[in-house]
């Protein structure tokens, strides 16, 4: 029982909803997401506050909407940074091989072996503890995984007939890379990028839990989720809603990612 495009449809729907919510959150929210109201703190969901209020009496729905824009923006930029630099490094390293490859991979592995928390701490101190600090820190932390995967793909493709054929036909190395090798990296990269998108949404909350608060000018889902933890017993909704937002976003991105990959993967063309 095949349901063609059904998954893609769900994924598209979820991401569409997210984009609308984020767009709307940037323009209008039911309440001011930063406005404190001590009399209404930790209020359960009600007609006035659909998703309840947090420990400072701030409206959770408004914060989720405002947070959507920030969270998506941070995740997108981080993933883009990691994918672009990682792909360039991986392609180059995998294609040239030899000692250049070895040097690059030595650095790459060194970076991979760094726990994210130390890297984040160091880079946040250098870049400044703000939104862009976290993007740069996490972007650099995820770059080596991309580089490694791309390099692996390049290595496994190098000896294939069609690459050899391209060379025999007199195509330049750069052309061969762009025309034949890069498209083959898209599939594993889509998978990695969609996972990374999720990691970034969550990385922020894990850092926050360990005492390394990532300072939000505006609320983000990640730090809403981390901040809700002490109130698990008294105000379940504080954690459930941001958690649900993250889950659904991830699901949407995964499903849509699959669909996009199927369209882009050269081997898939004309197969279905």
């Amino acid at each position: 029982m095949k349901l063609p495009a059904f998954n893609a449809l769900i994924g598209g729907g979820l991401i569409g909803g997210l984009v609308i919510a984020a767009g709307m959150g940037a323009l209008w929210t039911p309440y001011d997401p930063l406005k404190l109201s001590f009399r209404e703190k930790l209020a359960a969901p009600s007609a006035a506050h659909w998703l309840g209020t947090d420990e400072f009496g701030r409206d959770v729905l408004s914060r989720l909407m405002a947070g959507a824009a920030t969270s998506v923006w941070i995740s997108l930029l981080t993933v883009a940074l990691a994918v672009i630099f990682g792909t360039l490094i991986g392609l180059f390293s995998g294609y040239v091989r030899g000692w250049v490859d070895r040097v690059i991979m030595a650095f790459n592995d060194a970076l991979l072996a760094f726990p994210g928390i130390l890297l984040a701490l160091g880079l946040l101190a250098v870049v400044g503890a703000n939104k862009y600090g976290i993007i740069v820190a996490l972007g650099i932390a995820y770059t080596p995984s991309v580089a490694r995967i791309v390099r692996g793909t390049v290595l496994s493709l190098r000896e294939k007939e069609f690459i050899a054929a391209s060379r025999v036909m007199g195509n330049s190395e750069a052309f061969t890379m762009a025309r034949h090798i890069l498209p083959n990296c898209i599939a594993p990269l889509t998978v990695l990028a969609t996972s990374m998108f999720g990691y970034v949404l969550l990385a922020e909350s894990s850092l926050s839990f360990l005492g390394l608060g990532v300072p939000p000018p505006a609320p983000t889902w990640g730090n809403m989720l981390a901040g809700a933890r002490p109130y698990l017993g008294q105000a379940m909704w504080l954690g459930i809603f941001p958690g649900l937002c993250i889950s659904l976003t991830l699901l949407g991105i995964n499903l849509l990612g699959d669909a996009v990959r199927d369209r882009l993967d050269p081997r898939m063309r004309g197969l279905r």
């Binding site: 029982m1 095949k2 349901l3 063609p4 495009a5 059904f6 998954n7 769900i10 070895r102 040097v103 030595a106 650095f107 592995d109 060194a110 991979l112 072996a113 760094f114 726990p115 994210g116 928390i117 130390l118 701490l121 160091g122 101190a125 250098v126 995984s145 490694r148 995967i149 692996g152 290595l155 496994s156 000896e159 599939a187 594993p188 998978v191 996972s195 999720g198 949404l201 969550l202 909350s205 894990s206 839990f209 360990l210 005492g211 989720l225 981390a226 933890r229 698990l232 954690g239 958690g243 993250i246 889950s247 991830l250 699901l251 995964n254 499903l255 993967d265 081997r267 898939m268 197969l271």
Partner: protein, 314 residues
């Protein structure tokens, strides 16, 4: 094969050197000072200066590195600023604790997630696929500090099956030791299922599209045989690489689970040392983690040809 292994080990030396130097520099760039952290806000500038001198922190960065590196070559990682303990035994004992959790969790997660991923790929776009991907995504998107707490409240407080706090070393009391490790392992296991399932599914999807699968199908092999003999075996290669990455990352990232379940592991040691700016411990931990990482990936690469005949070790 042997030559490959040796080359890789030699190749790892520059990586470790890079880690050693960059950790040394990076942690000293980060604001914060172990002496003033130890003495707190009551300390006088004179006593901070005294302590810095005693810890050797008043010397130039170059001298400090020289001393540390010289001792490192002799196999001495120094002693902790905070606890005055020798670092190597400290790291080894903490590592053993973390490794138990990580290895067991990842092993079981792979046992469940790899077949599930293959099945999801085989039945791509079906309700089953959607269900598996949905479950994996859900597991992936619950942070471990939430998941751990939920398990703690459910198994520890509600059902009273498992102890809520404490830790007993398996070496001291095997049975009780295992009991204390169940929840941390379960937390990590559930989380890693999400990670590995998605990767296994993606790798299998790749393979299922390749020509030889079409060939195999055309030859009239049953779907089950195609799946097992060709798809599964070939999909395992990339998944195997990923498991290597997962293992390497987890050693650094297990701190959260150790915090929730009061486990004295390596992750927590590293995080505590970072917060206390215990420079020699951070350096030792990082070097050790990097070493493990290199080792794990070497083993993974050595095993790779077994799963993927197309790659020859060289």
């Amino acid at each position: 094969m042997l030559r490959f292994a040796l080359t890789r080990i030699v190749m790892a030396i520059p990586t470790l050197l890079i880690v050693a130097v960059s950790v040394f520099v990076l942690i000293r760039l980060i604001p914060g000072d172990p002496a003033s952290l130890m003495l707190g806000d009551l300390a006088t500038p004179a006593s901070i200066a005294d302590l810095r001198a005693r810890l050797g922190l008043d010397q130039s960065l170059f001298t400090q590195f020289g001393i540390w590196f010289g001792n490192l070559l002799k196999g001495d990682l120094g002693i902790s600023i905070n606890s005055q303990e020798p670092i190597l035994p400290l790291i080894l004992s903490r590592f053993w604790v973390s490794a138990q959790i990580v290895l067991v969790a990842v092993f079981f997660a792979s046992l469940v997630a790899v077949p599930a991923g293959v099945i999801a790929a085989w039945r791509q776009d079906s309700i089953l696929d959607l269900g598996l991907v949905g479950a994996a995504t859900l597991l992936l998107s619950i942070p471990t500090f939430w998941l751990g707490l939920l398990l703690l409240l459910f198994f520890g407080l509600k059902l009273e099956w498992l102890p809520v706090v404490g830790y007993v070393s398996i070496g001291d009391d095997p049975w009780r030791g295992i009991i204390y490790l169940i929840m941390p392992i379960l937390t990590l296991f559930l989380h890693e299922i999400g990670v590995i399932l998605r990767m296994a599914r993606a790798s299998t999807l790749e393979v299922l599209r390749l020509d030889y699968i079409t060939h195999a199908r055309a030859k009239g092999l049953s779907e089950g045989a195609v799946l097992w003999r060709h798809a599964f075996k070939n999909a395992f290669g990339p998944t195997w690489t990923l498991i290597g990455l997962v293992l390497g990352n987890l050693l650094g990232g297990i701190a959260v689970v150790e915090t929730v379940f009061t486990i004295p592991g390596l992750g927590r040691l590293l995080v505590d040392s970072i917060f206390a700016r215990d420079y020699p411990v951070i350096q030792g931990c990082m070097l050790f983690v990097a070493f493990c990482y290199v080792l794990v990936n070497l083993v993974i690469d050595l095993c790779y040809p077994i799963f993927d005949p197309r790659v020859t070790a060289q």
